[in-house]
Amino acid sequence: MVKKEVADHLSGKRFLILTFLVVAACLASLYIAATNIRAAATGEDSGFVFLKLFTTAGSNLPFSFTSFISFLGPLIGLIMGFDAISGERDRGTLSHVLSQPIYRDALINGKFIAGVVVLAMVIFGLGFLTGGLGLIVFGVPPTLGELLRILAYLALSVIYISFWLALSLLFSVLFRQTTTSALAGVALWLFFSLFAVFLVGAITDALIPVTDSSNINQIMANARLYQGLSRLSPIALYDEATITLLNPSVRSLGLVMLDQLYGAIRAPLSFGQSLLLIWPHLAGLIAATLICFAAAYIIFMRQEIRA
């Protein structure tokens, strides 16, 4: 089952278009990085040149590899999953497949696992492609720490996009119409990536208003609430985790008071410490993915399959 679904994904035109889009985005980001990396590498912290390959954005084109993945990744997940179940229902193949002696969950598991496998192939492929090209262009080999960070980042991306895949799978189970399912997915994506930021700001300011004359406690409460609310969005979680992984000088994701910084030694975190910092984010993303998938699973198991 998984084998057939993977083959389906890989042979479809949709996949070809997607891959083309993402590869183009990657090459563009590589080009941007190539033109700007000299300035970035000679800046304040000149270590970790290889990581900058993924994070450097130009001034005229504000896109790096990471921002491309963060922005387009959800779209890949949504497109791969939005018609997983409803499409089969439309074509009448669902009742046919489910009248064969397989458990009903074999189908939905197969769809999800195949999706994750394909995603992992694409993301790791792209990551290595960018890294390899960067190696050729710049000639700066990565250190072990950098390599680990990149691998962790790619794995994180797979989990993140899997969340969107699970979400679109849920929609495809819920809605009979393929188009409704696609729209619901895209709507949620737009909401999280564009409007959620405004909404979180508005809610925070309404609950804990802050003016110039507010005392420090109020400002801190405001900032904490803002961060807490925004972390409800998987996009925010992913972005924070990405920054931490690919920028070793990020030492904390919460509020830092000036007196806490006083006397601190300016040094990058080790890979293990960075990982520790984003552990909650990782757990949150995996949990969100599993919740979406579990919901899709339960609804699907109890659903009536009409021809």
Binding site: S11, S95, H96, P101, I102, I305
Partner: protein, 339 residues
């Protein structure tokens, strides 16, 4: 036939399915014996498809249970699905795969070893006449071909029980004939049990051993077509259609005077006799003895169409009466109620 023990393959006990307020299937008690073709008949929305879905475990019954060879589809889905082949009215195959690839996928899902699968697929394609089209994509198939691929799919799976939902819908007459022949051979040659749902009566009559008539979620009658006809026509006057040559007054006289004939009607060629009992053997003999050549003698009222219509009218009538009875109190105050 009579000596063989009669094994029940499909059995339902008070099987009920509700969609909110609507009762789609209302305490259905059904028994289907091994090796017969059973027809589920009824108008659209009578609950045929819902019944089939419950038999397959594709939807859960609200109450009651179904048993396939003693297994409950909701408790033992795999055992049931392994025993049952399902052909929906618009069978879905993967459009961008070839007919052959679709069958191979089915074989893989059924866990057939590759060797067995291959021979079965080749045989099945040959039997349904799709050998040449096997390597074409399903999206290029006509509806009839798709339906035949559906049968091939069943043959690959080779289940003892086959359930078909409106198999002949939207297929041209020639295609229907071929399809029905195929279905018949599935039952006769390989001793399979087949359940067919349909609202196309003549087709069902041609191949079914037993039928169940569905109206509004209830099975209002079941049995062989002859049984149904006898039940329905018991105590009623029979109508005989007769054509004989030469048609003259002497023939009319002979018929009128025949024992048991109540009335005679002439309708161009056909003479219709109303009689109290089945007098066909004696009448035929008499007519031939009198020097006429008998061209046609038919007892009307035994076709499924007639039976179905009778039942359906009765049921509709009962329904109208019921609703009239319910409506009565509200009408009691109107001026017309006294008349």
């Amino acid at each position: 036939m009579a000596a063989a023990p009669r094994r029940i393959v499909v059995e339902t006990e008070n099987l009920t399915k509700c969609y909110g307020e609507l009762i789609a299937v209302d305490s259905l008690n059904l028994q289907v014996e091994k090796g017969i073709i059973f027809g589920l008949l009824g108008p659209n929305g009578a609950g045929k498809t819902t019944t089939i879905l419950m038999l397959l475990g594709l939807t859960e019954p609200t109450a009651g249970k179904a048993l396939i060879n003693g297994y409950d589809p909701t408790r033992h889905p795999l055992k049931v699905k392994a025993m049952v082949g399902y052909l929906p009215d618009n069978v879905g195959f993967y459009q961008d795969m070839t007919g052959l690839a679709n069958l191979q996928y089915t074989a893989a899902l059924n866990g057939l070893p590759p060797k067995v699968a291959e021979t079965r697929i080749v045989n099945a394609l040959e039997k349904v006449g799709l050998k040449e089209a096997a390597t074409r994509k399903v999206s290029e198939y006509s509806r009839g071909m798709r339906q035949r691929l559906g049968i091939a799919d069943l043959l690959v799976k080779d289940p003892p029980l086959i359930i078909m939902d409106e198999p002949t819908l939207g297929i041209d007459p020639e295609g229907v004939r071929e399809l029905l022949d195929l279905i018949k051979s599935l039952a006769r040659d390989d001793k399979r049990t087949i359940i067919i749902s349909s609202h196309l009566l003549p087709q069902v009559q041609a191949i079914c051993d037993q039928v169940g008539i569905f109206v509004k979620g209830r099975m209002i009658a079941s049995g062989t077509i002859d049984q149904l006809g006898q039940q329905l026509l018991a105590g009623k006057q029979l109508k005989l259609e007769l054509i004989a040559e030469p048609q003259d007054e002497a023939l009319y006289h002979l018929c009128r005077e025949f024992d048991g004939v109540i009335e005679l009607k002439k309708d161009s060629q056909i003479i219709t006799l109303t009689c109290a009992k089945d007098i066909r053997p004696l009448l035929a003999q008499k007519i031939v003895e009198a020097g006429y050549s008998l061209l046609h003698l038919h007892l009307r009222g035994f076709s499924l169409d007639d039976i179905y219509q009778q039942y359906f009218q009765q049921e509709e009538g009962a329904y109208v009466q019921n609703s009239a009875a319910q409506a009565k109190p509200s009408r009691a105050g109107t001026p017309l109620s006294g008349q």
